[in-house]
Symmetry: C2
Subunit: 337 residues, 2 copies
């Protein structure tokens, strides 16, 4: 059985084209690769042969010859598509421009599948690896640093200082937000601490802590969703049915919605009694009622930039900066006063 089922037509290779055009295969190769040494006349003949035979270069053979595959592996947390939508779009659009293919992998955060993925990346000879790591622990990520694979961390700071990273400075965002509230004398502030997204959440906690410290106070306000809790919505519901706070900060829209729903159901008015801020905006933060106050995050750019950096890395360019922080904008809506 040949490629593509039982098609029995003989394959058309660079040889067929060469024969058809009456040149050597080297010349055909040069035409394909847009080398400018080929005479205009010959080039035309070859191109006609290519069209006539419907020849398409075999990327696998090219990959073998060139020792690169123009494909890069993308690893995202299992079940994350609903919130990394735009990131992936940015990534894919940029990949398309540079003719890279994206091989998609998911890893369940918590279960250390990194070794398995690395294995695959090495076998498949992907040229590089982009890791969307807002849900992976330092330990999981550490696994990656043993390998000499061009890598970009996307969505968070890289701990091992070898790889590039592009992310939003959530630490600063939260710092500014919390400071503002502390200035107003509001200090009953909690951060929803979802242990399934440790790296990102740690930034939030850090930002909040700093702000508190600077105001001579100690930050202790986190609601920790234990790692083994399956239904975090239920967990939060349960908590907020019995606890009140002045300001609740969440990372994901779904958590903000859980908090808001629960408060409303328990006659806690939003924003009068409790204010809620979601760190990352999503298409739903604006569709939900009340509209959820959040930071507006350039997700598309995040993905696009990560891919751009990857291409630079792969083309051998020296990438001087290791950390790329993208800006965010705070947008107060209806869940804050």
């Amino acid at each position: 059985m040949g490629q593509y089922g039982n098609v029995e037509k003989k394959r058309v290779t660079i040889y067929s084209v060469a024969k058809e055009a009456g040149v050597s295969l080297a010349t055909v190769s040069r035409v394909i690769n847009e080398s400018d040494v080929v005479k205009e006349n010959t080039k035309k003949r070859v191109q006609e042969a290519i069209v006539k035979l419907g020849y398409k270069p075999n990327a696998v053979a090219q990959g073998l010859a060139l020792k690169k595959t123009t494909s890069i592996a993308l690893v995202v947390p299992d079940g994350s598509f609903n919130y990394i939508d735009k990131v992936i779009n940015g990534l894919l659009d940029t990949a398309k421009i540079y003719k890279y293919n994206i091989i998609l992998h998911t890893a369940t955060a918590g279960i250390n599948e990194m070794n398995e993925i690395i294995d695959n990346v090495i076998k498949s000879r992907a040229d590089g690896l982009i890791l969307y790591n807002d849900a992976f622990s330092a330990k999981e990520i550490e696994t990656l640093n043993h390998f000499q694979i061009p890598m970009v961390y996307l969505g968070n700071k890289s701990e091992g200082d070898t790889a590039c990273c592009v992310y939003i400075d959530y630490e600063k965002a939260v710092y500014e937000l919390v400071s503002r509230y502390l200035d107003k004398g509001i200090d009953d502030i909690v951060v929803i601490d979802d242990r399934k997204n440790p790296t990102s959440i740690d930034l939030l906690l850090k930002g909040a802590s700093e702000a508190f410290e600077e105001h001579g106070k100690r930050f202790g306000g986190f609601v920790t969703i234990p790692e083994d809790v399956h239904n975090s919505y239920e967990y939060l519901s349960n908590y907020f049915a019995h606890n009140r706070h002045q300001l609740v900060i969440t990372y994901r829209d779904s958590q903000a919605i859980a908090v808001i729903n629960t408060c409303t159901e328990n006659n806690i008015r939003i924003p009068e009694d409790t204010e809620v801020v979601c760190i990352k905006d999503s298409r739903y933060t604006d569709m939900f009622r009340p509209r959820i106050s959040s930071f507006i995050v350039p997700s598309y750019d995040l993905g696009a930039l990560a891919m751009r950096i990857m291409t630079k890395l792969l083309s051998g360019d020296i990438v001087r900066d290791k950390e790329f922080k993208l800006n965010y904008v705070y947008k107060a809506k209806e869940t804050t006063k």
Copy 2:
């Protein structure tokens, strides 16, 4: 520059292993591929050499030799990740089991990028193509049928009858739903007709029409969002601020939310004045308030099955059925009486 940056260690290939183990490369190949003709003793020696050298087979070379890449291309509509989350999960999990890699492509519905994608698929020698096609027009899909690529349509019926398809029988779902309402004497029913998802929407319209016809009535109730409308939320808002209906059927959660928000803002009570049903459930249909009545759709299974079928296709098994319809369950929540 070698594979993976400036690592200068000589590559370890099947030759290195052969040398290390004192056998020929053919034997190493046999060990790798778990051929059972190799003597136990030799096999052990080879395996030790593999471990010692850290050898990983080069999938590119294998691909060339075997004329297959164990990778399959997945095409999804641009910007669809927020709603095909689970489908992709099912697909990837299954792909992992069968050791297939997924190459991810997006195509903007409406702009005919299929040719470009086909080109890529052929160049990259992906073994097959899975098309999530709830947003592609028949014309776009037609392009694909010219090529002898093993293909599975996911999320919708295939028009060209060559390829397999796995989908939810939305037509029947809507038929049943509408019939139920008509039986109750409710006939001011509209379907949100988003021209950006023609194939799926057409099924809805068909299902509704049938039900009406059977009741001796003519169905004319669609609110068509023109293709050139960017912000469909706004469009729907505008419409529902000035029009009332007894039952509104939408395909996506975001459309249902738009309708509900607008109705509420215009003092149209839900579900008392207007009922709303969303065809596909999502994590948000249950988080939104009021909870949105919807069909519960086995999205994960949809993806998993598509991939399973693909593996069957590729292993040369005869796939007798062409159409795989998956079941759905209707779940009345708070937007219906």
